[in-house]
Symmetry: C2
Subunit: 329 residues, 2 copies
């Protein structure tokens, strides 16, 4: 809200071509929120899958020019509702807008004691659930195995690698900046981290001499190809994200199936919405790790709704570090 | 053996370029068999994976120019051994040669009453085990689901489709000749069969209006791509064979991983040697189906060791129908 009390939102003004730019979006006055629980937005979640929605290519449906951007939010209710009295913190889904009205059944009260509250859309939220489901339902890490994680400094990748480490595996990250790589090894406990902008093949050969038992893929493209060439027998691959192609108009081809056969590998597509049944377990497990200080995480916080387009553009350029959020108040 | 008692074998004289031709092979006098159980060869198994071995690209190792071709055999022993008295029928592995000597521990007595004996290297042998493992360990068919099978008239494909049918699924084959397609529908009980030389995409759209729940892939290439575009939610894909690329020098790219993610599909590489623990179950199950006449199968029999190269070339050109074997006596 501006000081005058005006409500503002971010709309898409045109379909991005390739990497999104700030001019693909506009800040507009928002209508008075309609029916639903009135709430002030505290945080907007900025996520790579939104790029797929802008291209009309995502399972959760398109966002067409003229429409408001929408994603997960952390809100504080302004009236009593099923989630609690006015002032209750909740997670919901809605437009990139300062004040919203969310259907009561679409609000979920935040777990008590979650600090910062943005964790509810970060490593104790959807990204955490994505990592948790991928690790426990697809990768099944065993002690001594090696997991490779791409986009490893993001909230999904960093959490997935740490969960595999906790199960006794070795974790090798792939990340695009020296700062991220240092953090992954020094703070998040990864055993090694490969420079995504260097030779990923050489990096894998050096860090995974016995091949790759598990791969948590957040990028697709040439990194997926390089890892698939090095799968160990009975490898498991969680196909989760496609950062390398979200900005492309036409999907490129993928790895040859001979690589799957040779390794007797199992590849499985991971869509977090299929795994809501794990959310309570995830919140308990990852929430406890955060409180104990045994789960490292990073957030990149942009202040003010007017910076939401910039946050998204930076994310899609690989220039953010950790979970990207916009803080509104 | 020639009438003079000479022993003969087939050797590779040069690495095939693209489709193999008969001149890539030569019939040569074979040495007197060395240590091992002396046996006469009744049948030689002719299989697509041998093409990969000729390119040096198969998990079971290469066959280099100068070496004898080798594969599964049905033999009749000429002396007493652990598998039984002289004259016992056994399955083994050895050169394409009229008389062989096989290490005792590498011989397995044929199941009693198997008729014809070539079934021990056909639908009650390795191809049957491949189908059985793929269906029971990867596809997990459920009633009402749709399975698509490529190279469907081969012993692996036809058996896999019929096993899925027996579990209540619909089976759609893909095959390259009108004769094969008619047999699959009329004799093997497939619900439909698509012309591989026509538009596979249009054929899939017509026969799988609700998408493909299971795919048993024996070919890779453009057929795999077309099926992957049509996977139903939670689809399972058994990646088993690569007939489309065995003749190529460089493996082509494969389908984009977005197709796996969108369908939340599970792809798994199938190598039959990993599933020997299922062989007894497979022999009991498929043997009983053959005896009851509820498992349709075809064999293409070439007579005489001198026709073994032709049999292999015809197989690799897609011109054989059913399990390809060479009968020596």
């Amino acid at each position: 809200m501006t000081e005058s009390g005006e409500n503002r939102r971010v709309v898409v003004v045109r379909r991005p071509q390739g990497l999104p730019v700030s001019d693909d979006f506009a800040l507009q006055p928002a209508p008075v929120p309609g029916p639903g629980v009135a709430a002030d937005v505290l945080y907007i979640s900025i996520d790579p899958y939104l790029r797929g929605r802008l291209s009309g290519r995502h399972v959760t449906g398109p966002i067409a020019p003229g429409a408001a951007m929408d994603s997960e939010l952390v809100v504080r209710t302004r009236e009593d509702s099923a989630v609690g009295p006015a002032g209750t913190l909740a997670r919901g889904f809605g437009p990139w807008q300062e004040r919203v009205a969310v259907p009561e059944q679409a609000l979920t009260r935040l777990p008590d004691g979650l600090e910062p509250e943005s964790l509810a859309i970060g490593v104790v939220g959807m990204p955490g659930l994505t990592a948790y489901a991928g690790v426990h339902r697809i990768l099944h890490p065993a002690a001594g195995e090696t997991v490779v994680v791409s986009a490893a400094a993001g909230p999904v990748g960093a959490t997935a690698g740490q969960l595999c480490k906790a199960a006794g595996a070795r974790a090798v990250g792939i990340a695009g900046s020296a700062q991220k790589r240092a953090w992954l090894v020094e703070e998040a406990g990864f055993d090694a981290c490969i420079d995504r902008r260097g030779s990923v093949r050489a990096g894998l050969d050096a860090t995974c001499p016995n091949g790759v038992d598990m791969y948590f893929d957040n990028v697709g493209g040439s990194v997926l190809q390089a890892v698939m060439e090095r799968l160990a027998p009975n490898a498991r691959v969680a196909l989760c994200g496609l950062m390398d192609q979200y900005n492309d108009d036409e999907p490129p081809p993928g790895p040859n199936p001979a690589l799957v056969i040779r390794a007797r590998a199992t590849l499985r597509g991971l869509v977090v919405y299929d795994h809501e049944d794990l959310r309570a377990d995830m919140e308990r497990d990852l929430g406890a790790r955060v409180r104990r200080g045994t789960l490292a995480f990073r957030e990149e916080v942009f202040e003010g709704i007017e910076r939401a387009p910039l946050a998204f553009c930076r994310l899609m350029a690989g220039e953010t570090f950790g979970k990207t959020v916009v803080r509104l108040r």
